[in-house]
Amino acid sequence: MRGLGQDKPNHDPNAFVGATEQGIGVYTHATDRFKTISLHAVWITPLAEDTASVTALVPSLLRRGARRWPDWRSMEMRLEELYGAAFRAAVEKVGDQQLVSCHLEMPDGRFLPGHPDTLAAGIEFLNHVMSEPHLVEGTFPPEAVAQEQETMTRRIQGIINDKAQYATLRLMQVMAEGRPFGLSRYGRVEDVATVTPLAVTERYWEVSRQAPLLFFGVGALDGEALERAVRATWQPRPAGVGMPPMAPVPGLHQRNLVVDEQEVNQGKLNLGYTTGARLPDADYPALMMYAGILGGFSHSKLFVNVREKASLAYYAYARVDGVLGLMHIGAGIEFKDFSEAMRITEQQVADMAAGRITEQEMDFTRRGYVTSLKTTEDSPGSLIGLQMQRLLMGGGLLPADLIPALERVTVEDIRRVAEGVSLDTVYFLTAKGEGHDVRLPVS
C-alpha cells in the first residue's frame, strides 16, 4: 500500500497528505506560502523513570556529529552553507510520551541568490544526521557523552532559574505523584550521572530501529521525493509497533496544598485541575470554551478580576493540556495576597460552574479562538504541531471542523463540562519565612 493519496480529500488548508505504514509516517503539506522549508522528524517512546535520562541524551549526541560531519564545527559549517539553516535536535514531552525530535528549517532556494536546491540538501542532511551518528569504536565518543551529561545536569538544575516554569513543573510533579507525566523531559540528575557511552549508544539503536517514527515536511516541496528518501533510509518498525495509547489521567488529590519557600520577589500561585475531557473527546470544544472564558484571553474572568479589578497581578491565566486533560491556572502575586487571590480565583471557577457567563464572554472567546485557529496555516511550526498532536492522540479536530464545533458550544455545554473540573492541587512558591501561615480557604 502506498502512503500517498490514501487520505480522503480534505480541503482544510491545515491538512497534510500522507500515511503511517509499518510504524513510519511521512506527512507533507505542500505550499508556496512560505519563504522556508521545514522538515521535522520525531521518534516516539514512552516516558519512564529508568529510560528518561538516557533517551534525553540521544538528541544531544546526534547534534554533536554524524559520519560525514563528525564534529560540532563541521556540522555547523554545513548548516551555514545551507544558507543559515537552523537545525535543532531536542527531547520533548507530550503527555506521558517522550519525543526525540530533529528539526531543520532552511530558506527556500527560490529566494536565494543562484536558486540552489536547498530541499534535496536538507533531506539528505536530516536523514544522514539521524541515521549515521559519529561513533568511535562502536559508541558515541566518551568525551562527547561526558560533556553532554554535564550540560544535561546543568539544564535540569537550571529549571529553578525560571520561577514560573519551575512552579509549573513542581505542580505537575505533585499532581502526578510518581506517574510518568510528572517527570521532567530530561529525567533526573542522578540518572544522567549513571549513563555510559555504551548505554546511550544502545538506547540510540533501540529508539532509531524500533520506535515509531514520524516525518513532516512543510513548504514548496515534493511529498513523493520526501517519502522515497525516508523509506529508503529507514527500516520498517518491528511488527506490532504502533502509536502508543495515551491514557486519561485520573486525579489523586482533592484540594491538596503544597508551599515552597525561596529567595524571590514575587509569589507564584499555581492551581492544577483534572477536567475529564481530552482532545479527541466530544466535550473538548466545550472545555476549550470553558478555559478560554475563565482565563485564556485579556477579556477573560481571571484577567479582568485578578488583574484589572483587584490589581493583584500582572498576569493571570488558565490553560488546558488537551493530551492529559488537565487545566492549569497561574498568577504572579504578592506573598501576602495568597488568600485574596485564591478567593477571587475560586469565585471565577464557581461562576463558571454556575453558568454565570455573559453573551459577550461567549462571543469574544469564540472569536479569539477562531482567529488563532485560522492563523495556524501561517506558521509551519503550528501546522506540524497540530498534525503531530492528532496522530499522537488518534483524533482531535482540524480547524475547519473545530471552528464550527466551538460555535455550537452553549452555556449549558460549558456548565456540564464544569462539573468534571475538580481542583487537585494548589502549589504556591513564596519568599523565605512567608510560607508558614498559608492556608487554603474552605471550599
Binding site: 506560502r33 512560505f34 519563504k35 522556508t36 564534529d71 560540532w72 564545527r73 555547523e76 559549517m77 551555514e80 552553507e81 545551507l82 544558507y83 543559515g84 539553516a85 537552523a86 532552511m106 530558506p107 527556500d108 529566494f111 536565494l112 541568490p113 568525551e143 560533556q147 554535564e150 550540560t151 546543568r154 539544564r155 538544575q157 537550571g158 529549571i159 529553578i160 532559574n161 525560571d162 520561577k163 525561596q262 529567595e263 524571590v264 520577589n265 514575587q266 484571553f297 485579556s298 477579556h299 490589581s311 493583584l312 497581578a313 500582572y314 504572579g332 504578592e334 459577550q360 462571543d363 469574544f364 479569539g368 477562531v370 482567529t371 488563532s372 485560522k374 492563523t375 501561517d378 506558521s379
Partner: protein, 401 residues
C-alpha cells in the same frame, strides 16, 4: 507590506519614544521637563484605558488580539487579526490617539506594574542584562530599566502622562506598519482620511531631547548580584562609543559587527567549539550587536560554571583568532538565510522594520549592505570594537557559592 496568501494581518503603530526619553522640551509650551523613570512604559499600559472601558474588548469583539511593548527607543501598539482589518485599524488609531488618564486609573495601574517589575526582578536573564547596562553606561539613560522602579512609578501622575503624550504621540513622530494580504493604497487612504478628520496632518515643532554626555569608558568593569540560581550567569558587553549614528552608517556598522560575531563566536567557529568542550558555555551561548543613534554595544553570555575563566579565555582569544575570507563568505550566506526567514513571521518582520525605520534605515537596504561586507571590514571592526577599556562584565551568582 502586501503578503498574498497570508491569513494573518499584523499591524504596529509605533512612536519614537522609549524609556531613554526622560528629559525633553515640550513642543506645545516650549518648557523643559524631566519625568520619572519608567513613564513611557506606564503610558503604554494606560493607553488601553478609555472612558467607556478597555480597548482590548473592542479588539476582542472582532476576534483580534492586541498588545503593546516599550523599549529603550520606542513604544509599539499592535493587533493581529484574520479579517475586518479596516475596523481593527480604526481601533488601533483610536487606542493610540485618544488618551484618557485619571487619578483613579493611574493609581490602579501602579499595583499591576509593580507586579510586572517584581516578576522581572526574579528573572536572572533579565537581571544580568540590566546590571550589564548599568556597568557599561555611566550617564546615558539606557543604563536604567525600561519599566523604571517600584519607587519611580509611584510618583507618576495623570498630568505628567499627558505632557509626555502631547510631546511624543504626534503622527510626525510615529510609524504605522501593516503586513498581510492587503492593498497598500487602500490602507494608506484610510489612514490619511482618519488623520485629516482628527486634525493631525500638520507637523508639530521639533522634539528636543536632552541626553547627558556619555564618557567613553565603562562605569564599572565587573558587577555581581546573588540570586537563587543553579549556576552563575554571565553577560559580557563591549560598549561602542557613537555620536549621532544613523542611516547607512548605522546599517553598515550593524551588519559588519554581526558578521564579525558570527565568524568569531558563531557555532561554526573554533572558539565556540573550544568553549563548549571545556564546559564553559552551553548551546545557547552567542554574541550580538545592538546599534541605536545615541548608544551601541555588543553583548554575549549565558550560564557558565566559571565566569572568570570564560571572561579570561574570551579576552585573549577574541583579539587573537584568525578571521579568514572563507569564514566571512560563509557567514554572509548564513545571514542571508536569516533575513529571508524574517518574512515568515509578521511579528518579527514588523519589529525589524520599525527598529530600522527609527534609525533611518530601510529594511530593503539590508541585502546591499550585506553584499558589500569585506574581509577587511570585519578585521577592522574587530580592532576598533574589542577594546578592554570598553568591556564590562555582569555576573549573577548562586546563593551558596
Amino acid at each position: 507590506m502586501p503578503r498574498p496568501g497570508q491569513r494573518r494581518t499584523y499591524a504596529t503603530f509605533a512612536t519614537y519614544y522609549g524609556s531613554i526619553d526622560s528629559h525633553f522640551r515640550v513642543p506645545t509650551t516650549g518648557a523643559d521637563l524631566e519625568v520619572p523613570d519608567g513613564i513611557a512604559h506606564f503610558l503604554e499600559h494606560k493607553m488601553f484605558a478609555k472612558p467607556e472601558g478597555d480597548v482590548m474588548d473592542q479588539f476582542a469583539a472582532l476576534g483580534a488580539s492586541t498588545n503593546a511593548y516599550t523599549e529603550y527607543l520606542t513604544t509599539s501598539y499592535l493587533f493581529s487579526t484574520t479579517d475586518r482589518v479596516a475596523e481593527c485599524l480604526t481601533i488601533l488609531m483610536d487606542l493610540v490617539q485618544r488618551p484618557h488618564f485619571t487619578e483613579e486609573n493611574v493609581q490602579k495601574e501602579q499595583g499591576i506594574i509593580e507586579q510586572e517589575l517584581r516578576m522581572y526582578l526574579d528573572m536572572p536573564g533579565d537581571r544580568v542584562h540590566s546590571n550589564l547596562m548599568r556597568a557599561l553606561y555611566q550617564k546615558h539613560p539606557v543604563r536604567l530599566d525600561i519599566g523604571g522602579s517600584v519607587a519611580s512609578i509611584r510618583t507618576i501622575t495623570p498630568d505628567v502622562l499627558y505632557r509626555c503624550y502631547e510631546t511624543f504621540y504626534h503622527p510626525s513622530n510615529m510609524l504605522l506598519f501593516v503586513v498581510g494580504d492587503l492593498d497598500p493604497q487602500q490602507v494608506i487612504d484610510q489612514i490619511a482620511e482618519a488623520q485629516w478628520d482628527k486634525g493631525l496632518t500638520e507637523s508639530q515643532a521639533e522634539i528636543v531631547r536632552y541626553l547627558p554626555d556619555e564618557p567613553d569608558p565603562v562605569a564599572e568593569a565587573w558587577v555581581e548580584q546573588v540570586m537563587p540560581v543553579s549556576l552563575p550567569l554571565v553577560s559580557i558587553g563591549y560598549k561602542d562609543p557613537v555620536s549621532r549614528l544613523e542611516g547607512q552608517d548605522l546599517l553598515t556598522r550593524e551588519v559588519v559587527s554581526d558578521v564579525m560575531w558570527g565568524v568569531l563566536l558563531g557555532k561554526a567557529s573554533p572558539l565556540w567549539s573550544r568553549l563548549y568542550e571545556e564546559g564553559l558555555i552551553n548551546d545557547r551561548f552567542g554574541a550580538h550587536y545592538t546599534a541605536a543613534t545615541t548608544y551601541a554595544y555588543s553583548s554575549m553570555g549565558g550560564e557558565t560554571p566559571h565566569p572568570e575563566r570564560l571572561a579570561e579565555v574570551l579576552a585573549e582569544e577574541l583579539a587573537r583568532v584568525a578571521i579568514t575570507a572563507e569564514d566571512v563568505e560563509r557567514q554572509k550566506k548564513s545571514q542571508w538565510g536569516g533575513f529571508a526567514t524574517l518574512f515568515n513571521s509578521p511579528g518579527d518582520l514588523a519589529y525589524q522594520y520599525n527598529a530600522w525605520h527609527f534609525r533611518g534605515v530601510d529594511l530593503f537596504q539590508f541585502s546591499d549592505a550585506l553584499a558589500s561586507v569585506s574581509h577587511k571590514d570585519v578585521e577592522a571592526r574587530r580592532d576598533e570594537h574589542l577594546q578592554p577599556v570598553h568591556r564590562a562584565i555582569s555576573v549573577i551568582r548562586p546563593e551558596s557559592s
